[in-house]
């Protein structure tokens, strides 16, 4: 069976990837493509008010990117390349803030500081997405040549740190660009801070309002500025990535950690302060909120907290399992599709690459609710009724929407493997799957799992299109958001923690496993 699957030509496999994207993303996108480019209608919608909303979204998202880089970049350098007590643990904790739902972090920081308004949103996004610059910077630091680091060290520790900063600057910027993208399309966090403080809005609220007041098509039309902005940022990001690849020249021996002697306690303290801001403070506050009550309440904190956790586990269990099922299936699909897509992009040139890039990225940039309505219009047919009602539909849509994230990671990783390795295998008569999975993907398989894991994590957080699909309607995200709206604060906190732990656990295990295998690319 493997023999006939392992064809020499990549074309059947690329066709499979395109077919999967056709079903998972492009068919549901079809009904919104025409309204998306209704320039005449967009011109009617764009006025000074909406322009101001768009401007606010841009500067807030830029601010979020800056905060993310400010928090994540130094953290990555300290945790990955300085030697001090606890550095390993700090490195292990680095990706976790990314798994906390931004709304939960917003709620926690409001509870801790009372902050509200646009600046609170910027801070919250910065905290939530700081792991993006941190993770990308840490990867580039892992690729720094040991000789380059030691040459710098012979001049001075400050110079060695400067060289680390220089080598990891572009990846940190790329992370900040992704933070910008995620922040620009998020409606829930600014809405929350407008809720608890003075009313303000961002452009995503206009898209949401239009989707609701008119129909999904109006929402799609008004999303065009954000979609274009997203493409521009992604193109900029891809160029930064290409420039960065010229800077990473490790030949096997990786640079070792830098011992700052007396400075190690300062590093340890600073890292601790950062992880408190990024993770421990929000988690601590949420734990406290599981048992929080009004002043006239007669129940103790522990009674209320236990009841909240009991509720979270009993009432939310089925929703969590359902969510993990379709998100897990989506992750499995991306495990297969992302390397195929990434390889296809790496092997394509000029116009074809451009078209593929747009095709794979568009589902992530359009409003989620429009994708959901598109899938209703296309898949809700009498002859597809069982499929429409099954978990395969949300699994496919989660895979289609978040595949771009997995593909970006794989393109970035697989692009580092010299083509000569794959060419040599081709000359030896290896089939396509062997070439792809053993010689192109093998050395970067940790990134492969990470890519699929991120799809699962984003799938668990998805709300807007999940609510529209029969099998995903009762999801963990729906229960969480509804509880938040209905002020069931104890339940929200407990349920959020249960979800966070479920997402943390595999990531911690994965990171721990990777730390045991430092030689991997």
């Amino acid at each position: 069976m493997i023999t006939w699957l392992n064809t020499r030509s990549p074309r059947p496999w690329w066709a499979l990837a395109l077919l999967a994207s056709l079903i998972a993303a492009w068919i549901p996108l079809a009904p919104i493509l025409a309204p998306l480019v209704r320039i005449d209608r967009l011109a009617q919608m764009l006025d000074s008010r909406t322009a101001m909303l768009l401007w606010r979204s841009i500067w807030m998202s830029s601010g979020a990117g800056l905060v993310a880089i400010f928090l994540g970049w130094p953290y990555a350098i300290m945790a990955c390349r300085l030697r001090f007590p606890g550095a390993g643990l700090f490195k292990l904790l680095m990706p976790l803030p990314l798994l906390l739902p931004p709304l939960m972090v917003a709620q926690a920081w409001f509870g801790l500081t009372g902050m509200t308004g646009a600046w609170a949103s910027i801070f919250t996004f910065g905290v939530c997405y700081a792991p993006l610059p941190a993770l990308l910077a840490s990867r580039s630091l892992a690729y720094q040549s040991a000789a380059a680091h030691e040459s710098a060290l012979l001049i001075g520790p400050g110079f060695a740190i400067g060289e680390m900063l220089r080598i990891s600057f572009l990846p940190a910027m790329i992370g900040a660009c992704f933070a910008f993208l995620f922040a620009a399309s998020d409606f829930a966090v600014p809405d929350y801070f407008a809720t608890v403080g003075d009313l303000f809005h961002v452009y995503a609220a206009e898209i949401f309002g239009n989707s609701r007041n008119y129909d999904y098509a109006a929402g799609a039309t008004s999303s065009l500025p954000l979609v274009l902005l997203g493409f521009l940022v992604l193109l900029g990001t891809a160029n930064l990535q290409r420039r960065q690849m010229n800077f990473e020249t490790s030949h096997g021996r990786s640079a070792t950690g830098l011992n700052l002697r007396t400075g190690q306690f300062f590093s340890s303290g600073l890292c601790l302060a950062l992880i408190v801001v990024l993770l421990l403070a929000p988690l601590g506050r949420i734990i406290y909120e599981t048992g929080m009550q009004g002043p006239l309440s007669e129940r103790s904190w522990s009674e209320v907290s236990s009841a909240a956790f009991h509720d979270a586990v009993t009432r939310g269990r089925d929703d969590v399992l359902r969510t993990l099922s379709y998100s897990g299936l989506a992750g499995l699909m991306c495990l297969v599709l992302a390397p195929l897509w990434a390889h296809m992009l790496l092997k394509s040139r000029s116009i074809r690459r451009f078209a593929l890039m747009i095709g794979v990225t568009l589902p992530l940039l359009v409003p989620s609710v429009a994708l959901g309505f598109g899938s209703i219009l296309m898949f809700n047919q009498p002859w597809l009724e069982n499929f429409y009602n099954s978990i395969w539909l949300p699994a496919l849509l989660v895979a289609g929407r978040f595949l771009p994230i997995a593909v970006w990671i794989m393109v970035e990783r697989m692009g580092r493997i010299p083509e000569a390795q794959e060419d040599a295998a081709a000359l030896a008569g290896c089939g396509y799957l062997t070439r792809l999975f053993r010689y192109r993907l093998g050395p970067v398989r940790s990134a492969w799992w990470l890519a699929a894991g991120l799809v699962v994590a984003f799938g668990v957080r998805e709300l807007d299109f999940a609510i529209l699909l029969p099998a995903a309607n009762q999801s963990a995200a729906v229960r969480y958001y509804n509880a938040l709206h209905f002020s069931r604060d104890n339940f929200v906190a407990a349920y959020g923690l249960v979800l966070a732990i479920l997402l943390f656990l595999p990531v911690m295990l994965f990171a721990w496993w990777r730390n045991l295998r430092p030689s991997q690319a």
């Binding site: 040991a146 000789a147 040459s151 012979l154 001075g156 110079f159 060289e163 080598i167 600057f169």
Partner: protein, 220 residues
């Protein structure tokens, strides 16, 4: 009587059960040249890294110009305090910095005078004057090697450590490399330790030739 530039006494280093350096002794005067030959994995590079302060020994002492640099496993002088520079086999150039920035950066970091003027002079001397704005990724192999030596020259060290610095070169390029080294040594007056597995390189360098066997040095 003045102290030797480098004095190594009873140096020991092991990796697990494998003994790499066993009671190793070495002395080097200012401006002296020595070469150390030996098969791959015998500990030549480890010795250089310990001398540079990039790795700590298990035991023994190292002093530089009479100043204790190591005592047992403790590093007393940090790498940047040893007035020592090293040329690595893969050069260790900084990918984000231009050719000119390489020399300016190191002169600034070491508080040396006129970083830009002196830097340009050194680069012109080594034939890199027309590539000032280029990054290492865009240099040919020979140009990159000249830049590595220019960086060493810019720092005016007292001791230069060459870790298989010419090993991957063809004979013509190797000869050019040695000519460049002569320029650097003439300009800095530094002592040099060359680690190599090729007896021809040791012969070309001149000075004292050692062979490393079972963790110890013996004169060839």
């Amino acid at each position: 009587m003045s102290s030797p530039l480098l004095n190594v006494q009873s140096l020991q280093k092991s990796f697990g059960a494998q003994k790499i350096l066993v009671d190793l002794n070495l002395q080097l005067e200012a401006g002296q040249r020595i070469s150390i030959q030996g098969p791959s994995g015998c500990g030549k590079s480890t010795l250089l890294r310990i001398l540079a302060g990039l790795e700590s020994p298990d035991d023994g002492t190292i002093s530089l110009s009479g100043k204790a640099a190591n005592h047992k496993q403790y590093i007393l002088l940090q790498p940047w305090q040893r007035s020592t520079q090293m040329v690595f086999q893969d050069l260790g150039l900084w990918p984000t910095r231009s050719v000119l920035q390489h020399v300016i950066d190191v002169r600034k970091a070491s508080n040396l005078t006129d970083p830009k003027g002196e830097g340009e002079k050194i680069l012109n001397q080594l034939g890199l004057g027309h590539l000032l704005k280029r990054r290492p990724g865009k240099l040919s192999g020979g140009e990159a090697r000249r830049l590595a030596f220019a960086r060493v020259m810019a720092l005016e060290p007292k001791l230069i450590l060459l870790d298989e610095a010419f090993s991957s070169l063809d004979p013509d390029n190797r000869e050019q490399g040695f000519e460049m080294l002569e320029q650097v040594l003439a300009s800095t007056g530094a002592a040099v330790i060359l680690v190599t597995h090729d007896p021809a390189e040791a012969e070309r360098l001149g000075g004292t030739a050692y062979r490393m066997m079972e963790g110890q040095l013996s004169c060839v």
